[in-house]
């Protein structure tokens, strides 16, 4: 793993974002819009029934957390799509850059996007709804790390599918992550799911993060079991996804599809 080459690729994307207002807007536009809409809904619910007093805390927290996962996924997939759109894959993979370094750079870009979105959303939530995301204290850190890892899983999977099936699979960059939303239990507890779906949700690391978040807010206790499950599952799935990505990369090179993925 050559750090210089990873930094080179990161600089390529930062050059891009520095100059492209639409790309910067894309990072902030939807999260802020989500925050405004869901924020007002939860304020309304809280006003209607006192028993929903905690709704603002739950919904806004869940929303910010879901956006962390979503942006982590997008950080990987959109970075890959940028190379397809600019037909730059040949320039990159005919250089000493390895598939692993390429993935590492995309992961770094996703952290950049997550950091940007999280800071903006946290401040917007504080400003508009007096909601302080930091009420969770230091437990916030492992939760966020797990959400980023969960986003990476879907991002790597999406990237592998686009690499294999070409630009026709591009729509997955925005859509695939939402397939996991119902079993991530973002806005409702896992117990709400039908019995047959609950084991599937339990196998989803994101569901453990959101369950854990609710536990922190309700009981002020650190939900270690959920955290360990999330970490274990993320670690396992990350290994599997990286293996799938490397396999797909090698298969695309074998079939001559790597440099034709945008055609």
């Amino acid at each position: 793993m050559n750090v210089g080459r990873i930094l080179a690729l990161i600089s390529r994307h930062l050059f891009l974002y520095r100059r492209s207002f639409p790309r910067l807007l894309e990072i902030f536009y939807w999260p802020l819009l989500d925050l405004v809409v869901w924020g007002f809904i939860t304020v309304y619910l809280a006003q209607e029934g006192k028993e929903l007093h905690g709704a603002v805390v739950f919904f806004l927290g869940a929303l910010i957390f879901w956006d962390i996962l979503f942006r982590a996924q997008q950080g990987i997939t959109i970075s890959f799509l940028e190379e397809i759109w600019s037909r730059n894959l040949m320039n990159l993979f005919a250089s000493p850059l390895t598939a692993g370094e390429f993935l590492a750079a995309m992961m770094a870009m996703s952290i950049f996007k997550v950091a940007a979105v999280s800071i903006i959303m946290a401040f917007a939530a504080l400003f508009f709804y007096s909601y302080n995301v930091f009420i969770m204290g230091l437990t916030l850190i492992p939760f966020i790390m797990n959400l980023i890892a969960s986003g990476w899983l879907i991002g790597i999977l999406t990237t592998s599918v686009i690499m294999r099936f070409g630009q026709q699979a591009e729509v997955l960059a925005w859509g695939l992550v939402f397939l996991f939303q119902p079993i991530s239990c973002v806005f409702y507890p896992l117990s709400v799911l039908p019995g047959w779906l609950q084991p599937l949700a339990m196998a989803n690391p994101a569901a453990h993060v959101f369950e854990g978040m609710r536990e922190v807010l309700l009981n002020q206790a650190v939900p270690w079991s959920h955290l360990w499950w999330a970490m274990g599952l993320n670690g396992l799935y990350l290994l599997i996804m990286i293996a799938i990505y490397q396999y797909t990369f090698a298969a695309c090179k074998d079939r001559g599809m790597l440099v034709r993925v945008g055609e």
Partner: protein, 242 residues
């Protein structure tokens, strides 16, 4: 004779039942320029892409700089670069930003000085801060060429480097490449559909048809082998025999 800087042996690529490159073997000596010729679909691009490590060969070996590409990809590709009329650079970055990224990717030291040097030599001062999207096709070709020589490669693969250039700039680019080759000892594999250019730029020619090498030698040797007056006549004869 010194050891070849590029040695291709029995290189074969099959896509399903279709054989794009069929047991191709050739060598490039240090400082030598070899012209890779052939009609459309002859296997030139696939050969290029295998040499650049973006397509995995079905059979055969590629050795460059004394290493096997399969096992020493990074060491080799650090010292190899390419320029193709058909591959552009990221449109949203300026010329300088594109070169800076490439320089970092290949670990070029003294990147600022090197960028200045290449921009000056290729007469690109006026487009240094221009977004690549706004470049003409000829300017984009010069950018891809600048990207290729920025890293001071030992081996350069050039796929129709003058295809979209006006005669004046094409003449300057060829002059630049000749001078660069003379001062750096660079080895090149060169494709073009301009036979006069191939004769001018290449020491030897490898002629491909239907994925196979059908002729190899100096331009004069290949012309004599086919009993024609010039390389263009040889090309037409081979292309129409298909």
């Amino acid at each position: 004779m010194s050891a070849p800087i590029v040695r291709v042996q029995n290189l074969t690529k099959q896509f399903g039942n279709f054989t794009a490159v069929d047991h191709v073997s050739f060598e490039i000596q240090p400082g030598e320029t070899v012209g890779l010729l052939g009609p459309n679909g002859a296997g030139k691009t696939t050969t290029f892409q295998m040499l650049l490590g973006v397509i995995t060969p079905t059979h055969g070996t590629i050795e460059m700089l004394g290493f096997d590409l399969l096992h020493h990809r990074e060491e080799i590709l650090r010292q190899v670069n390419f320029s193709s009329t058909y591959i552009s650079m990221p449109y949203a970055l300026t010329v300088e930003e594109n070169l800076r990224v490439i320089g970092r990717l290949y670990g070029v030291s003294g990147i600022d000085r090197r960028i200045d040097d290449v921009i000056k030599k290729l007469e690109m001062e006026d487009m240094r801060h221009k977004i690549a999207r706004k470049l003409s096709s000829g300017q984009m070709t010069r950018l891809t060429l600048a990207k290729a020589v920025l890293t001071e490669p030992k081996i350069l693969f050039l796929d129709e480097p003058t295809a979209s250039l006006d005669p004046d700039i094409a003449h300057k680019v060829k002059g630049f490449l000749k001078e660069y080759r003379a001062t750096s000892g660079l080895s090149m594999l060169y494709t073009s559909h301009n036979m006069r250019e191939i004769e001018e730029m290449s020491d030897r020619i490898v002629f491909l048809q239907r994925g196979k090498v059908i002729a190899e030698g100096t331009a004069q040797e290949v012309i004599a082998q086919y009993g024609e007056d010039d390389l263009e006549q040889v090309f037409l004869k081979i292309a129409r025999e298909r």
